[in-house]
């Protein structure tokens, strides 16, 4: 390598080092200023839900007339993170994925809100402990809960009644028995109607949403992957595989391939092609909006037979919202976050509009409209259940569940048969990625 090449290489490396982000994260002013100016707000809601967000933001603008909020809907986490990294991010961003809180916090993409929370004396004890846990990471409160989601069990009451069932299953054994009774097959053995679809990765049936049924753990106390060492996962996997095998994996794959998109009106539950399913509380509104003729009931997710006391718990997660590192108007962005997440009237109004679970104890108490709805009230109870769990935050975001899901896809199809070895690989991969993320 001649001297000129060395100089050129060194210059390029210095340039590489120089062309990296270095914006200083905003912190709260000593005293809260009057919110003014323009706020850029990116969120992930679309259609009906996006209109509801726009409505509540108009209320905020009416309360703070010197603030104008520009909303960009239908965003996703990848795009938002890239924009923040490039210095062109919004003032505040919302995400559906609580499992990315670790990434948002540890990277500093979303700023630590502690200085704002302390200055304005926001009472965080009014946020339930599970919700507080998924909105912070390693002591950094970089997000606030922007309504929550609770996962439960949906069943088609007409189909259950026709099959002679008085109510939904409470244990996984009952779920298996009812699935077999409610499934209809054609003469050639293919599925015409499924009692319950046990394929991991299809619609909302995921390991995270099933975990509360057995209290399965994601991490050890030292922050390492516990997927391979927790016997609860193995019990859930065996139950699931048995049900998949009863259908025949190829039969299931063929059936699910013919079903409509999860977020469209052609959803299999809307169309009466599946009798029972796991889903979030938002499905109540989707069903009433898109499938008015479907008669349905809601209940907590069935649990493993040996842990009947767990019945009533479920997976809890939610939307999160935070101030981006690149915020040009962080004080007004914080004012909007504070309004959207702690103003009881605003939280209840938004929860009513998009049929999500309110996230403060005051708003939960005031959510009389939601409580009066028997199908939705089930999700408020799941949310309030102390045994309900969430996906713990990690520095590698969604990699933990996705790595596990990759193995589960092979496990359920029969391509992988050695459970212990596969789960050990999952643990190793997850631990190494967490180590790399720092």
């Amino acid at each position: 390598m001649n001297r000129r090449t060395v100089y050129l290489t060194a210059a390029a490396v210095l340039l590489a080092a120089g062309c990296t982000p270095g914006t200083k994260a905003p912190t709260a002013a000593a005293t809260a200023p009057e919110p003014t100016g323009t706020v850029e707000f990116w969120h992930q809601f679309t259609d009906r839900e996006s209109r509801a967000i726009a409505g509540i933001v108009k209320d905020f603008e009416a309360k703070y007339p010197k603030v104008t909020v520009h909303i960009t809907d239908g965003q996703d986490d990848d795009k938002t993170l890239q924009a923040i990294g490039a210095g062109n991010g919004p003032d505040l961003a919302q995400s559906f994925s609580t499992d990315r809180v670790g990434k948002f916090c540890s990277s500093g993409a979303w700023v630590d809100l502690k200085s704002y929370v302390d200055r304005d004396k926001v009472d965080l004890s009014k946020i339930p402990p599970t919700v507080r846990s998924y909105t912070e990471f390693r002591g950094k409160r970089c997000s606030m809960p922007f309504l929550a989601d609770a996962y439960g069990f949906y069943y088609n009451t007409t189909m259950l009644t026709e099959a002679g069932f008085a109510g939904p299953p409470k244990t996984l054994s009952e779920l298996t028995a009812m699935t077999k009774a409610l499934t209809k097959r054609r003469a050639d053995g293919t599925i015409e109607r499924a009692g319950f679809l046990p394929q991991f990765g299809f619609y909302e049936f995921s390991p995270a949403h099933l975990a509360p049924a057995a209290g399965a753990k994601w991490f050890t106390g030292e922050g390492r992957s516990a997927i391979g060492s927790d016997p609860a996962w193995k019990e859930l996997m065996r139950w699931q595989k048995e049900l998949v095998d009863w259908y025949g994996y190829k039969n299931l794959a063929k059936f699910t391939a013919s079903l409509g998109d999860e977020w469209s009106a052609d959803h299999a539950f809307h169309k009466g092609r599946v009798a029972m399913m796991v889903d979030g509380e938002w499905r109540v509104a989707f069903l009433r909006d898109q499938a008015k003729d479907v008669s349905f009931g809601t209940a907590p997710m069935p649990v493993v037979d040996a842990q009947a006391s767990r019945y009533g718990a479920g997976y809890v997660t939610g939307n999160i919202i935070g101030v981006a590192k690149t915020a040009r108007n962080p004080e007004a962005a914080w004012a909007l976050i504070r309004y959207l997440t702690t103003d009881t009237a605003a939280v209840v109004k938004l929860a009513n509009a998009i049929k999500n679970v309110p996230t403060t104890t005051d708003a939960l108490a005031a959510a009389t409209e939601l409580k009066a709805d028997p199908q939705f009230a089930v999700f408020l109870q799941i949310f309030d259940n102390p045994a309900s769990t969430t996906m713990p935050a990690s520095a590698v975001g969604t990699a933990v569940e996705e790595t596990f899901s990759q193995f589960l896809a092979k496990w359920q199809s029969g391509a992988a048969t050695n459970m212990d070895s596969g789960l050990a690989d999952v643990d190793r991969q997850v631990d190494q990625m967490i180590q790399l993320a720092g």
Partner: protein, 307 residues
């Protein structure tokens, strides 16, 4: 100013814009990728030196082996399939006497379709149960496969999509075939050569530079195969619209369409390990260069053997 200096400056002025583009869009990103591969990078904070930690993970990463295997499958199957398909289509089109231009346009048109749109259309056409292809197959008593919903058929379905869009390559072969001197075919026929011998000893040597071009560009493009695999997986999974981003569905079904660039993107932008994804980028570059060099050497041997 001396004549030599003036001449050098003139040359530099002419090649300057191209040189600047090369430095900014090739040399700098390449060196930056090497630099980032030795750091913890999350796009938000200044890079943090981690030595060879990212490189060590390359040898333990289970996903990279799986993703590289899928990409290798595409390189081995899709590239030759596209070249053979393009040559065959070009030869057939050159035989057509009437309406040749119309047919050429017709076969070229799919290449103009944006990859996302073309993939969406293909997933709809091949949707098991409701798609027109399986409906037609069922009418003649054939049970169609699950196409993009089957781990065995998803990759072949993507190859079909690539074959549908061979217009770009086909049009180059049409021109190359028209350039083959007719006298060579006449001489070969007089010598008693059959159709295969004429193709093997006249056509192939004459168009071999174009075959090499198609092979090299095809391999490089397939090593970077991303859009079609991502869109097909997302749409076929039935979970196309999520706030978590499209990358949550990459590889569906069962990781069968999970290519190397998809893992590079996922681990970098979804999992935030930009340092490690830089390692993957550097490896991809080295592999692309190596494969190109091997192809060039093999081509010399191939060209020599057919002459």
């Amino acid at each position: 100013m001396s004549t030599v200096l003036r001449r050098r400056l003139t040359v530099l002025a002419f090649i300057g814009p191209a040189l600047a583009g090369l430095v900014v869009f090739f040399v700098y990103p390449l060196l930056a990728a090497v630099y980032f591969s030795l750091h913890r990078v999350d796009l938000i904070n200044p890079p943090e030196w981690v030595g060879l930690a990212n490189w060590r993970f390359l040898f333990h990463d289970l996903n990279v082996r799986h993703a590289a295997g899928n990409t290798l499958w595409f390189v081995v199957v899709m590239v030759p399939a596209r070249i053979v398909g393009a040559i065959a289509t070009a030869m057939l089109l050159n035989r057509v006497k009437r309406g040749r231009t119309a047919y050429r346009t017709l076969f070229y048109l799919p290449a103009l379709a944006p990859p996302v749109v073309a993939t969406l259309a293909f997933v709809s056409l091949l949707k098991p149960g409701t798609g027109p292809v399986n409906t037609l197959l069922a009418k003649v008593g054939i049970e169609g496969p699950l196409w993009f919903n089957s781990p065995d058929w998803a990759k072949p379905a993507l190859v079909l999509l690539a074959l549908w869009g061979i217009g770009d390559l086909m049009i180059i072969f049409v021109a190359a075939l028209l350039d083959v001197p007719v006298e060579l075919y006449e001489a070969a026929s007089l010598d008693g050569a059959g159709a295969w011998q004429r193709f093997r000893n006249v056509t192939l040597p004459s168009i071999s530079p174009v075959v090499l071009f198609a092979a090299v560009t095809g391999v490089i493009a397939t090593l970077q195969y991303f859009t079609q695999a991502a869109v097909a997986a997302s749409v076929a999974s039935g979970d196309a619209v999520t706030g978590g981003g499209i990358s949550g569905t990459f590889g569906y079904p069962e990781g069968s369409t999970f290519t190397y660039p998809l893992w590079l993107y996922t681990v970098g932008f979804r999992n935030g390990l930009l340092g490690y994804s830089s390692v993957l980028a550097v490896v991809l570059f080295v592999v692309a260069i190596a494969v190109t060099l091997v192809l060039l050497r093999r081509f010399q041997a191939f060209a020599g053997s057919v002459r």
